[in-house]
Assembly symmetry: C2
Homo-oligomer: 344 residues x 2
């Protein structure tokens, strides 16, 4: 059952013996309206509890002031936080954002882009789904000249503005930290092989090893599909190597959580048997025992930059060159990687 009685501008107009255009102008506070008329309109609007119809407004102006945000999932704290930070920045610029999750599925990503297009969003911000390997849907978006900014999970196959962190450097520093804390045999629990940022982090991992004269061995690199079960299996497989690692770099906190969980069940001690360093710095990191060392990404800054780059495209008449913003990270050192201070 729905209201059949939405108050419209026309209702106010006839009630006041005015034309719709006058009411419209009064409502929007245009200067040419007589104060008395304006007052009358505003008051009646209030009394009738008039709600402007955003659909009609948008259609008439051919303008929605809305941007679409496509995220892999809101269950990761990182993405939920990015949503907040993007929404904040967008709102300040007078835009609202409509969010959709892909649940890591390529098909859903395609569908969501379709939806956003139909919803007439003026621009799109996204981070790629785990399973996205083909970019035709993105190209379509671009062919329609919809401004696009990609953050975090990007692809070099897409020519769009991006906001990322220096994954290679971050992984390098994280690995360096493990080495300097005495780890000799390092393993890496990476994400799906086709995810670019996973490879960048792997690259940083490798460079750190080589920089410190350790040999990089592919057999110490395992790939997780981000699910808990798979991650636990990969982690245990790694520890079942003839000479298991004494330090592991995991690509995300979720991977680290599952790994630590698996290790706990098997009686593998952290950091005594194996140290762990991870990525994302989710709030849960500090609650674990041992607390988890993790790379922090500047979420506020990323959100602000993402929106800034999008606005640049949105508000310029002429096409704008794509831009890549690389932000730096901070390693939050905690118990999982430091044998020294087990304070508990």
């Amino acid at each position: 059952m729905n209201k059949n009685t939405a108050v419209t501008i026309k209702d106010i107009a006839t009630a006041l013996n005015l034309s719709a255009s006058t009411v419209s102008r009064a409502l929007r506070g245009m200067p040419e309206i007589h104060p008395e008329t304006r007052e009358a309109v505003l008051q009646l609007a209030q009394e009738m509890d008039y709600q402007p119809n955003q659909l009609a407004k948008n259609l008439a102006k051919s303008r929605t002031k809305t941007i679409g945000l496509i995220l892999p999932t809101l269950s990761y704290h990182f993405f939920a936080s990015m949503l907040n930070s993007i929404e904040e920045a967008a709102m300040q610029a007078g835009y609202s954002v409509v969010v959709c999750q892909t649940n890591e599925s390529y098909l859903r990503e395609v569908a969501q882009i379709q939806n956003l297009l139909n919803s007439q969003v003026e621009g799109v911000i996204m981070s790629l789904a785990r399973d996205t390997n083909d970019f035709e849907h993105i190209y379509r978006l671009q062919r329609k000249n919809i401004p696009l900014v990609i953050f975090d999970r990007y692809s070099t196959a897409i020519d769009a503005s991006r906001v990322i962190v220096d994954n290679r450097e971050a992984a390098f520093k994280a690995t360096q930290h493990l080495i300097e804390n005495g780890c000799q045999r390092l393993g890496c629990l990476a994400g799906p092989p086709h995810l670019l940022i996973s490879n960048e982090r792997l690259q940083g991992f490798r460079e750190a090893l080589e920089h410190y004269g350790l040999t990089y061995n592919e057999r110490y690199v395992f790939h997780s599909d981000f699910t808990q079960e798979n991650t636990m299996m990969q982690a245990l497989n790694m520890m079942a190597l003839p000479t298991p690692p004494d330090g592991i770099l995991t690509m995300t906190d979720r991977i680290a959580f599952a790994t630590m969980y698996a290790f706990k069940q098997k009686g593998i001690r952290i950091p005594e048997d194996v140290a762990i360093v991870s990525f994302n710095n989710e709030p849960t990191c500090i609650y674990l025992s041992p607390s988890l060392t993790s790379v922090n990404q500047p979420i506020q800054e990323m959100g602000a930059q993402v929106v800034r780059l999008l606005l640049k495209q949105l508000e310029n008449e002429a096409p704008v060159a794509t831009e890549t913003i690389v932000l730096s990270t901070q390693l939050m050192i905690r118990e999982s990687s430091t044998t020294i201070s087990k304070k508990v």
Copy 2:
């Protein structure tokens, strides 16, 4: 910079020397259209990469097939999961959902309802913000005959369909569990005093105490505003009582996490010194050491019921009586409340 060249039905029509209505019908697969015309239209639409304008569509049909979802925050796993489960159920019924967060702020809640109204959502699903004490904005919604369903954080001051769990019983069982595991002096770390579900849980806590012949003492009840700092302070204050509790019921996992964090820093052992039982069963619960005993709410079921109740109102001509669905919960017993099996 934006596309000035959105392909419309009219474009297809003139290109094919047809009328707009014919194209419209062909696009929607109406039976009365000649197969050949349909083919031609469909093909050209594809070639021109035609995107239907959802705004125009909605305006023309005075129907959006959209429901609004207002959540306190997406940072709580419970709400993020509810979003997924609601979206799933809504999609199956052909509705899409637009989400907004209040960030626990009353003012934002009011504003978000305003937005949803302007966006012409056909119905609203919500869980109240922490700070919401006044319900005029909800009443306005109802005066406009917008179907409304409230879940989890509800209020008896709002006459709307709801989907909740039996908080009193859940708290009773949780408290019972603590008592049966040997706790003698129980404390409760509740949410803000005006949150109804917090009080219901407190009621269950109290009833359990009395049922087991323990005395309920208000001095063992502390209120957290859900922030980490405040929660830590309240938790430590509780343990600073002359005779601190040996068992605590916390109202949410977030409260429990912060409490455990505070206790860890102070060297207060869980469950040896004090056992903890909580609400929400976030995934993090199993990752903690000790793992956290928590009340699980049937999120899938809740989402399905919420949507079902809303659809009932949406798809009935006549007004539908409000309904309350009370679902039952399950206590997930883990290490934080059981002295027996510290497996690690």
